[in-house]
């Protein structure tokens, strides 16, 4: 079972209290972008076995969106953080590096 701590209300809850929202840190391509960029934005998603960054919503709770760094294989959660960020906070990246040396995910490592 996945246990997440919502950074918005401070509740530590189990998976069924939250709703997954797909990949985090997406760069949006809309009007004015090329067909390739738009296609990649819409359909090319990461699906790693290991370190992953996701959007979650505290659906049965405070209702807010946040981001989570976790491991899809071990279900370990490295940390949750504000959705108003462009990249994972350094302390969470350090935590991942300690557990999974040499990890990388899109442009982050």
């Amino acid at each position: 079972m996945l246990i997440l701590e919502c950074p918005c209300c401070g509740v530590t809850g189990e998976e069924t209290e939250f709703a997954g929202g797909g990949e985090a840190h997406l760069k949006r391509f809309g009007p004015g972008s090329s067909d390739d960029e738009f296609h990649t934005y819409l359909f090319a998603k990461e699906n790693p076995k290991g370190v992953h960054f996701e959007r979650w919503r505290h659906a049965n709770g405070c209702g807010k969106w946040f981001l989570a760094a976790r491991n899809t294989m071990t279900l370990e959660v490295y940390g949750t953080y504000s959705a108003q960020t462009y990249e994972p906070p350094q302390d969470i990246k350090d935590k991942i590096s300690a557990k999974v040396p040499g990890w990388s995910w899109r442009e982050f490592s």
Binding site: C8, C9, G10, V11, G13, E14, T16, E17, A59, N60, G61, C62, G63, K64
Partner: protein, 189 residues
């Protein structure tokens, strides 16, 4: 003019814990910047209750204010006082970015009372109900079986639960089932 009634007309079940649907309660969803001095003052002036901190619920006489999210409060007042309270809040917050809406008739309220109230909630919600983790003064929004709900303790032997009115019967049946005699677990006694 028709008279307002609560969802289940005060339905009641005597199990090893008493489950009771409460009468109508005035409720206002108030959203805005909870850190602003204006908001703190407005809530205190209008309700007489201080602005609660994260996951807190504060009572003052027949009024209460609960922290629902970083930008949302639930203001509870007697049912008949709700329009007046809304008007006062709107006046106090005029010129600020905020939203205040009466939700009284969109909610149902239940009260559990008895020695084992903690375990009734523990049976239905994915929440640690140990006294060291959850205590009077706190509010918890969560999932109760298949519906969204929020609850708080008014004392060690009493829990109030609020959910959407449209699922009031479902909520009552859940609580009734959990309070069925011979279903005692004794986890928190």
């Amino acid at each position: 003019m028709s008279s307002a009634v609560s969802a289940l007309g005060g339905a009641r079940y005597e199990g090893y814990v008493r489950v009771e649907e409460q009468g109508l309660r005035g409720m206002i969803t108030l959203r805005g910047d909870l850190n602003s001095a204006k908001m703190k003052k407005a809530v205190l002036d209008v309700t007489g209750v201080k602005l609660p901190k994260q996951r807190e619920i504060l009572h003052e006489g027949d009024k209460a204010v609960a922290w629902m999210s970083p930008d949302e409060l639930l203001v509870m007042v007697p049912y008949d006082a709700v329009s007046e309270t809304l008007a006062s809040l709107e006046k106090a917050l005029k010129g600020n970015h905020f939203l205040a809406v009466i939700v009284s008739d969109a909610r149902a309220v239940f009260c559990l009372s008895g020695d084992d109230v903690r375990e009734i909630v523990a049976k239905l919600c994915p929440v640690d109900m140990a006294p060291t983790t959850f205590a009077p003064g706190q509010i918890r929004r969560t999932r109760m079986a298949q519906i969204a709900a929020a609850f708080w303790m008014t004392s060690e032997k009493q829990i109030e639960i609020v959910c959407f009115r449209s699922v009031a019967q479902y909520a009552f049946d859940l609580l009734k089932d959990a309070a069925e005699p011979r279903g005692e677990v004794g986890a928190f006694l």
